[in-house]
Structure formats: C-alpha cells, structure tokens
Amino acid sequence: MSDQQASPIRVAAIGMDQRQRNALVMLFNSHCHKRYILVEEESSEICIIDLDLYGGERLWQEFRQRHPDRPLILASLKPRQVENGHTLFVKKPIPIIQLMNAIGQLSQTLNNRTAEQQIDPVASPETTPSLPQKPRHPAAPVTRKVASLMTEAQETVFIGTSPDIDPDNQQQLAKIYYDPQHYLQGHVQQALNQATRYNKNVTIEGPWPAIDLIIANQQIMVDAGEKHLRPFCTVPDATREVELRFHEQHKPTTGRKEYSVYAFIWQLALWASRGRLPSGTNLNQPIYLRRWPNFSRLVVTPHALAIAALWSRNPRSLIDTANSLGISQRYVFAFYSAAHALQLAGETRRAVDTLLEPPVIEQAKHRGLFSKLLNRLRG
C-alpha cells in the first residue's frame, strides 16, 4: 500500500468470541475491499457490540465508561432507540448493506473529528492521533421415512397402464372413474373420520389382516405386509361385512407394520385408483392444491412433484395439467386421487377460477441446469 492510499479502518468486536470474529473477518475481506480490518479494542477506531450476547448490556455500559466518544455500532434482535452522533443501532439479522452503511457513517464521524483536530490542537486524548492522519475512505455506503420414488414395476401396480382418453368420448370417459367407497380406501377414510369425531381408536375388521387406527398418534398398525394387504385394496367390494370397533385403549403388540394414517390412506387410494379418478370428478373444472403433500413420507408417483408445483401456483383442470406438462393423464389422475383422499386437492368452486385460461408455464432461465440437477439427484 502506498502512502497515498488510506490505511484500513480498525474495527473491534467487543465481547465476541472467535467464531463471530471469523465471520466479521470474512465479511470485511469479501465485501469491503480491505477498507476495514478487525483489531482488538485497544487499537480500534470503531467498535461493534452484540447486545444479545450474555452480558451485552453490561459490555455496552462499561465500554462507554472507557470510551465516551468512540464510534460504536450496537446490534440486537430487538429494536432499540440508542442512536446519537457516535452510536448507531442495527437490527439483526443485519443486512450487509446496513452494517456497511453504519461503518461508513461512523467513518465519516472519524474523518470529521480528524479535520477538527487539525484545526483545533486541543482535542480530546481519546481521538487525538499521535501522528497526523490522512482523511479516511469516503464514507459513501458500500453499494452491494424416506421419500419413495417408484420403480417401473411399482408404477404399473400403482398407476396402471391406461391410455389417455378423449374427454368428449362417453365410452372412454366411463372407464376413468372408481368409487372409493367400494374399496378399503373408503372404509379407512370413514374410520378416520369417526375416530377423529369420537377421539377413539378404531379397529377396522373385515376379511383383511387386522387394521388398527391409533388416533392420538395418527398411526395405523396392520398385522400383515403390503403383499397381503394389497389384494383387498384393489378389488371393489372385497367384502360388505365391515365392522368398525371403537376402543379407548390400545394394546401395543410387536411385529406389526406401522404407517402414518395419511401415508396409509395415500397408498390405499393409489392402489384403488390405478390411474383413475374418484367418481363425479369434473375433468374440466380447475383443481386447487390446498398444500403440498409431505412427499418425503409418501409413495411419490411419477410427475407428482411437477403437478403439485403447478397446482400450487394456479388451479388448473386435470386435462390441462396433463397437456401443459406433456404427461399421460393417468399420472395426473393418480396423484389427484391420492391427494383428494387426504383432502389436499379438490375442484375449485369459485367462478373466477374458470374465467380465465391458466397461464402457460413460464420457462425458468436455468431450466436446462435444473433438469440436469434433477437427473443427478435421482441418479
């Protein structure tokens, strides 16, 4: 550094440990072009105190006793009215620009003092430099259960292989609906509703392995694995003799398969649906998504994330969703059936949602990059 260049402003972090100091050093090095340097309090020109530190208020008071006029920046999560000519407050979390502005403002205070001292030699010992100082840098602010993705075999089991239909063809239309009430899905949904209403556990009894719903834990316990359970979920009217037996106490037993009740219903809906829709669903009515499903704990059907992302932006009809994403209708139908079973998705009732055509999907600037990253994550 030549003599003509200004030396860096010396900043101290009072009471801060090495980690905080490291962070400040990183900030000064990366954003401030070496205009500031972190030093100890004794040799500092500007100081920073984090009031949220243990004893922060005391540190501040003691600091002011030692250095009544030294420029100081106070930081805290709670707003404080402490500002005066040589004390500034910044609220945490601190935007860099605010911290830099505060340091810049106090640097200007230092510059002014230096100038005054050159005119008036009787200056306070605190700010009187032992050597003549050049003006500092200009004070201008620095301007600156594990998610389960499907295999191909699973896809056939959960989604089926139905081709796209022509929504105007009544024959084809008749094939895309199923009635959840005729499947185990409907019985478990009904059990959940009643268990919630009465706040009691319930056992769903039928020809299938015993299914217990523990309401307090939102948990399902089944006496068998999916292989034994699935046949009862895919066949309509597997039994007409279903009994819901309510009870207060649940006796835990070992060796049973456990599910979250939502993951269980989601899976039953996929098995029952096999790429179809709950009867009565209007293909042309826009679909809303109330919230994202907890995908990390659910069977994730193909394109489910894309459909969820699309519906979370705007309601959109099932047919339009398939067309917009360029995917088979059965993927949209399967996802809707499962999300609908958990009351996460439904048909909009507002006139405004059908008034305008949904917007085309705007291509992100980095779509190619996102695609590569997606494949990398799935690889």
Binding site: M16, D17, R19, Q20, N22, A23, M26, L27, S30, H31, D50, D52, L53, Y54, L77, K92, P93, I94, P95, I96, L99, K145, V146, A147, S148, N217, Q218, L289, R291, W292, N294, F295, S296, R297, V300, L305, A306, I307, A308, A309, L310, S312, R313, S324, L325, E362, Q363, A364, H366, R367, L369, F370, S371, K372, L373, L374, N375, R376, L377, R378
Partner: protein, 178 residues
C-alpha cells in the same frame, strides 16, 4: 465453467451440515468447532463460518451447497452466502423450544427467497418430537402468499434431502423435463 449455489439455513442443530454431507459429491468442507456456549447441549460442534459441499453435473456446471452458520449472531453472513443463490433449503429443528419462532425468524431473514417462491422447508427431528405436525407448519405459512413445500425429513438420509431439492426445482419451474 458455470457455478450456481443453493443455500441451506436454519437454527442450530437443524441438520444443515448433515444435509449437505448427504448429497455432496465431495467430502464437505465444514468449519465446525467445539461448541462453547448455548449450542453445546444441542450438538457437539457448531458451524463457524459456513459448510460447503458440491454437486458436479455433466459438463462443466457445478452446484455449490452452502450452509449458513446456525447461530443467529452470524446473521450478517447469510446475505453474503445467499446472494445469487438458486434457492433456499430451510431446515427447522422440531425439537427446539419454539420451532415456529425459528420458522418466522428465518423466513423474515430470507424474505427475498420467499417472495420468489425459491424456498423449501425440511422439518427435522420429528422422530424425537412429533409436535408440531407438518400440517401445523402449513397453517403458520398461510399468510406467506406462496404454497411452500414442507416435508418431514431426516437430514442423514440422501433420499429425504434429495426430494426436498427436487421440490425446490419444480417450484422454480414445474415444466422441468425429467
């Protein structure tokens, strides 16, 4: 060479370091040191300046993964790290005394990401603290103006972290080709 970055943030003990380790192609660089204060009870080491990991893509593109320091007092670091980021992965430790307080604190700190829908939330340690539930987090987010993906995740499990990132990518562009 094209470089991009994804930010992992959240309170101390939320699993940022672990999440980055789960998906990084390189041995993550971590600046953990022995915790010496309030964080001692939560984890053995707490991140000092940042964690760093990398995902290498075909060609010359790379995704840098930065973990912000977990302690609130390093908050001015967040802006340095998040500038120009593709998106934010916010991890919330469900075992902390006030996870909703943490949620709002961090959403407020990263408002720019929230407004642009560039955020996903992973709730960790739900196996040790079941409440609040994921639905409760969604209720807290109702006024945010965007539907943010919120998943129950285990930061040690690659698939969990991966699906969180996938949701982030689809949130940014639902039309990504698989």
């Amino acid at each position: 060479m094209s470089d991009y970055k994804i930010i992992f943030s959240g309170p101390v003990g939320a699993g940022k370091t672990t999440a980055i380790q789960s998906i990084s192609d390189i041995l993550p660089v971590t600046t953990d040191e022995q915790a010496s204060d309030m964080t001692r009870n939560l984890k053995n080491g707490t991140t000092v300046a940042m964690d760093y990991g990398l995902i290498k893509l075909p060609g010359t593109e790379r995704i840098h993964l930065y973990g912000t320091p977990g302690q609130e007092r390093f908050d001015f670091m967040w802006e340095i790290l998040s500038n120009g980021g593709i998106g934010l992965v916010l991890l919330i430790n469900n075992q902390r005394p006030d996870p909703f307080g943490d949620l709002h604190f961090f959403l407020n700190a990263f408002q720019a990401f929230i407004k642009q829908g560039k955020v996903v939330i992973g709730v960790t340690r739900m196996d040790q603290a079941e409440m609040p539930r994921i639905e409760d987090y969604h209720l807290q987010l109702e006024n945010s103006g965007v539907k943010i993906p919120v998943f129950d995740i285990d930061a040690r499990i690659r698939k969990d972290v991966s699906i969180l990132l996938e949701a982030l990518l689809y949130s940014l562009d639902p039309g990504i080709e698989e």
